[in-house]
Every structure is written in C-alpha cells, then in structure tokens.
Subunit: 315 residues, 3 copies
C-alpha cells in the first residue's frame, strides 16, 4: 500500500503522468471503478482548488465522497504517551484507525504552524496519520509538501514546453503575510525526480531547506535567472532563517510582463491564490505568458490519476 | 450560454414554468441527464431551503454536487487593478476562471452589506463572477435579487389561484433586524414579467427601488391593499432611504388571521425563515390561508427546472 | 412511520441486529434501495464517527446525502407562541415541515446545554423536530440519548461475547470537562431492552437518572464491579446532582490494563473520542482487551441497518 505523500511516492512517475494525460481526454471513462468506495477529505485549513478538484476527481471515478472541515470535529493530539488533560479531545491514533474503518482513501490538508520549525518540518499531522492509517493517505498539502500541486505543475510543463531540457525558474515574490514553503519545496522535489534542474531565485536570507535543493541552483539576481527561461514558476515563501516572519516585501521582486518578455517566451505558473499587483502584476497575470488557469485545471486530472492508481493498486 | 440571474434570464418563462410542473410530477425521470457533470454551490451566507432544495434538484438530475461555505475558503477581491496587500487573498477573476474548469454549473449566494447601497445595487459579487465565468451561473440570492425564490413564488401562485387576473399584494411587515430588499425586488420583477400587477403596501419611507416597481402600484394603507386580495405575499425589508437601518417596527403591520380573513380567501406566502408573532402571527401562519410550506416545496421543483434547462441548453 | 429515537424505537430489536449482521457481510448489496431518496443530516455539534459512518451508511444504500453544519444556517426557536424578536430566526415548526418536503429521512445531532437540566431532559430539539416532522427522524445523539451508538454497542457485545449471561459493567471514568449523560443513558436503556442487567460503577454523587437505571444495579467500588466482568464499557459523564459541573477528577477511576487483567478477559469498549491517560490509560487502550475500533466500525453497519429498515418501512 502506497501513500501519496511526496515526489518519492509514485512507483513509476512517467506512468502516472501518462495516466493523467489519458484520463484528461475522457475523465468519466472509469465511473464504475470506485463504486461503493469512500474517499474522505479532512481539511484543517482553507481550500478552494484542492477541495473542488480532488472531490471532482474522486466523483469522476464513481467514488462516494465526504469532505470534512476539521474545525467542526474534535481537536487531535499527535504526541504519544501524553496525559490528554487539555484542549485535545482525540488522539490521532484513534482518529486514523476509525476513519480507516469507513474510508478506502483518506486525504488530509494541514498547514504548518509557522511558529515551530522543527515540528513543522517533521510534518507531524500527516506523518502521524499515515503511521496509524491502514488505508492509503493522500497529501492535500502538508506543513512542508504539496505533491498534488507539484504533479499538476509537472503535467503542465510537459504539455506547454516541448523541448528536452527546458530552463525552469522558481522565483520568490513578495507577499504581505508569512506563507509556508510547502509549494516550493514540493515543486523542487518533483522537478528533481522528473530530471529537471531548477534555477531558484530569491533575496538573500530566503534560502530553502537544503533537503529540497538537491540538483538545483540558486541565482540571487532575478534578472539573470529569467534570461532564456522557458518556465517561470512564481511563489512566495517565508524565510527559514526568520521563521514565520515577513523579512522582505520589496516590490522589485514582483513579477511583471516586462520581466517575462525578456525570457524565452516563458510560461508563467502559480499555484493560486495569488495577490495581484503584489506577487504578480495584472499585466503579467493577463498576458499570453500565463499558464495559470490551465495549471489549475490540471489539478483535476492529476488528482484523478493519483486516485485511479490507488484504486488499481498501482501507485 | 444563459446565466440564471434575474427575471430576464429565462428565454421562455412559460416554458420554464411548464418544465417545473412536469418535473414535479416525477422528479427522478431524468437521473442520467447530469451524469459526470458537477454543480458547485458557493455560500457566502447562511442558508437552509436554498442549500437543500438546490442540491437535491441537481442530485435528482444525476449531477455531482459540491457545496462550499466560503468562510472556509479564501476571501475574494472584486475590484480590478487593486494592489492586493490587505485582507483579500484571491481575485474573483481567478476564482471564477478556475471553478469553471471543474464545474459545469456554478451557483452563488452573496447577501448585501447593507452598509453601502451603491455597491450593493451594483450586485458586485455575482456580476463580477458572471463576468469572468465561462459556465452558467445560478443566483442563489444576490445583494438585490433572489430569482429562484421568485420562480417558486410564481409557480405557487399559478397552482393556488385559478383565475386570469388575481389581485396580488406584497405587504411589508416588521422585523427586529435590517433585512435585504432582494426577495421583494425579485418578486416584483418576476410578477411583472409574468404579466401581474402587484399592489405593494408598506409604511411611508419604505419605498422600493423604482427599477423594480415598473407596472406595480403602492397603497400605503395595508387594510385597503388587502381588500379583495387573492395572494398576500409578506416580506420585511429595510428602507432604502435610511439604508441598513430599522426605521419602523410597528406591530400594526404584522400579518394576522383577522387581516387575511378580510381578503378574498387570500393565500399567504412568505419565503422563510419567518419570525412568528413579529412578521406573521401564529394564527395566520397556522391558518388555512397559508401556502408557505407548499411554496417552500416548490423551491425544489423550480430549481430543478432551472438546472434541467441549463443542462439542456434551453434556459 | 417510526422515528429512530431510543431503545424503544425498533419494533423488533433482534431482527434489527440480524439485519446489521447481514449488511456487514456485504455492505453494498442494496445500492438501489435508496435511489432518488435524500437523507439530510443536521449537526448542531461536532462529530467525526457519527458524521462519517451515517453518511457512508446512507451512500451504501444508494441515497443522496446532504450533511449540514447548523451554525451555517438560521438559529431555531423551539418554544411555541413566542414573539420571535431576539436571536432566533426560524421556528422549528417551519424548519421541520420544510426539510421534510425535500428529504426522505432526517437525522439530527444536538447536545445538551448542560446548564438547564429540565430542558435537557425534555430533549427539546429532537422532540420538537419529531413533533413537526412528516418523515422518519434519526437521533444522531440528542441531549440525553445516543441510540446509534448503543445499537453498535449491542452488536459488538453480541459478536465478542459468546455466552448467554455475560457480566456487563458500565464504569465511570474521570474527564477534565463536563460531559453529557447521553451515551451512558442510552447504553443502559438498550442493554435493558436486550435483556442484560448492567453493573454500573461510579463515585458517590454520579448516580444516573432513575429512568435509565431500570433493571441495573450500582456498585460504588470499581474493583468489585470489575470482578468476573466480560465487558467493561467506559464513559465519563457529569453529575446530575451538580448539573454541568466537574465534581470528581480522581485518577483512581482511570481504566488501566491492570484493572482489566483482573476481569474475565473483559472486552474494553468506549464510544470515542477518548482522552488517553485520563479516561483510559495507554496500556489498556492498546491491550488485547480493546474492542474499541471494532465497535467504531460497527457504527457503520448498525446505522446502515437502521436506514435500511426505515427505507423498507420495517423499523
């Protein structure tokens, strides 16, 4: 039994991509596959794309679907051996064991605290759930990874850039709030598994965790990074060095059409939601560079490929 | 592609009414029509009847259904060109474009602010969503209109009052809170399209927006208005002149059985929820005048007619 | 038409147990039974097991399912004749009558206030809903009863203890918060209907309502109660005598493996969620005594038996 947790999860990445391409052509071709099987989605945090696309993906495969906002349930304890005297009403061990008695696949979204780096980077919620789960678990964005997003990123690059060695850039951009590193971490991890070296550009002090930088390089000058780029993937993240803080809001890092016009007709990608004219300027968002809505649509087809593979026992 | 936004939305109103009557007789006769198609309902506000009846309507047509409480998602920006530095995480342009990649029909409920008349009467949320939507949008009650309610109102009047020119009265009634004008506006708009002139009765200062009064007349004395009435439609609304305020709570305007008994056996209608003994007295609510539960049931059949017509491309 | 409200609800308890056993062997054997029929679940309080198992049960029978968190809807008034001037927007009479126009089965969860014993023990919410409902109502845990839990308790005991007169113990255990008596009340009521006498053990002052004690006996010494026990059912409840208060948190009452080892290989049961090392120690939770996850799974099969019987008109 394979969980869908990280870039390492798929046994055969290329096959999974091909499954997504095949399902995209005819999304309802396997509507009997999931008959009588239940997918439960547990949301500890806000969601739009993930909530809609993952449920739709499961429904397209004929599954029963229940989505739960976890604020409407009991608070979970994740530590073992604790005397549960305070605000946590249920241990993850019970929650996982019980949900697995009803569900065939369980999907979880749980963002980082952004206050405790060590706990966040242990990816406590999903790892503890997987530890006790007897059914496949799908990561809907954990504290440090967002593999469903990254799989959609990969499919979109395969569709949009028809060349053997595209130049792929991951650019930091400013944001008024402290955001997780999950999307960026996962993007790098998946690109590495797919054989792509990414040029990562960000201000000094915004270095990502070395674990995810394997095979990739940093270029501190955004303009140099963008030169000859085929893909510009944009994402804000808060710094590891000043954990949970907003250290830099420099408008100079915002993505504009002028910057994209100096690339090799680069495709602009962002996971959404995006703050217009802070992260990416209107003129870039609405330019012919944008692959943003096509990327969002691919969330459906890639989620469906993941669920399909799990149901077939082929993930 | 037609949105279902106002009384002007249906191409052929009479045909839509006939569809509702036909579906009411056998609600599950088209369970294959929506197979593999997704209806997404977005609720920015509380709902009971609309949430249940619209979902049930879509399910009866075999659709996949996802209902989202938007407080569990990202706050939306509606202005163009804004630097999104503050509390709004996502622009409606992205939200609409993305949801349309997953859904075949999108339905939205968004009440007015009741603090800014101009913005409310621009019906900002749904109009901006429709502007960017590539799929049909259904109005689940916007700032100034509630067409699914009005369509159910019309069907109920057709069923209950078998005469060519019924006297239809819309009566204001007191309420402790400031309420929208949406139900009343829409009722008048739909009655006008259906060829009915409505006698509107309310205290001085509670005049509705002239846009919705076309073809209708005001009678400031409730007793005169009720004389010979075949239908008494009751609704509180807050005044346009003192926007968002409660200007009048006079019990004299409450609907009682005694008042209804002086009509022409009038059918009592209200969209619900209703505050008993404030808006309508118990003796009227529980009298033989009441068509209120039958009206509520018609929310299902009329919503189903709307969704059916959209799926058939015949709205 | 039978509601599923208490141990008195099933016409034939043994037949209902047999239905659950039969459905458990092949949960999807009646997927056409509920076609086109809607089950609505109304949650006034948090839920995990009940929400998942009851929805899954209805889906396994092919029903349409809508689960509503009632904080996203209108607040209900339960008193008759009230002038609804304050915080309640809708009377339960309208809510019940209207929901019944859309739904074929309605299920409700509503916990006690724990501030007003008389109102709680009148089981106001569900009793008022049932009074006005024209469709079968299922109790998802009311102020004083949790019959779906108790039916699962009974099935689990039937499965786990193969002897004619097992010794069944209900043991109070400490908890940091004031909890309802609903699970304990219902357990006693169902055991009585099933012909079992229960030994109830708890500190002085924690006596349960006499209505539920019929046929059962109190043993104030936990150790004596556990001697020769075949089943130890554990549950905290707050005292009736100091209503809504936490009168005793003595660790001496916590369930440990050592205590269970002195029984007759007793099966350990708890409805969950459970606070580890407060209510039950880790060593007991994780021991071979535990039937807790099997009990949780039986929530699905027993809920499905209830819904199946309602759909067949055989409850």
């Amino acid at each position: 039994m394979n969980h869908f947790y990280s870039a390492a999860s798929p046994t055969n990445l290329n096959e999974l991509v091909q499954t997504a391409i095949r399902l995209k052509k005819n999304p309802t071709q396997h509507m009997d596959l999931g008959k009588g099987k239940l997918m439960v989605l547990l949301f500890f945090n806000a969601s739009l794309r993930t909530k809609l696309s993952t449920q739709k993906a499961a429904m397209n495969l004929g599954m029963q679907v229940i989505s739960m906002d976890m604020k409407d349930s009991w608070a979970w304890e994740f530590e073992d051996g604790v005397t549960m005297r305070f605000d946590k009403a249920e241990h993850v061990k019970e929650a996982a064991n019980v949900i697995c008695r009803y569900a065939d696949i369980i999907a979880i979204r749980s963002f980082p605290s952004l206050t405790d780096k060590e706990t966040d980077y242990s990816d406590q919620v999903i790892n503890n759930f997987m530890k006790y789960s007897t059914k496949p678990v799908v990561n809907l964005e954990s504290a440090i990874r967002h593999p469903l997003q990254s799989f959609a990123d990969l499919l979109t690059i395969r569709e949009k850039v028809q060349k053997p060695n595209p130049k792929i850039v991951l650019s930091w951009a400013p944001h008024p709030k402290a955001l997780p590193q999950a999307v960026s971490n996962s993007f790098l991890e998946w690109m590495h598994r797919a054989g792509h070296n990414v040029t990562v550009t960000h201000p000094q002090g915004y270095e990502l965790h070395p674990e995810f930088m394997t095979g990739h390089t940093v270029e501190y000058e955004q303009e140099k990074a963008f030169a000859e780029a085929d893909v510009v993937y944009v994402k804000n993240w808060s710094p590891l060095s000043q954990y949970g803080k907003v250290a830099n809001q420099s408008e100079e890092w915002m993505i504009t059409k002028a910057k994209l016009d100096k690339t090799n007709h680069a495709k602009l990608m962002h996971c959404l939601p995006v703050r217009r004219n802070v992260v990416i300027a209107d003129d870039a968002m609405d330019s012919e560079h944008s692959a943003i809505y096509d990327l969002a649509e691919n969330r459906l087809h890639t989620a469906q490929a993941v669920i399909y593979s799990i149901l077939k026992g082929e993930l």
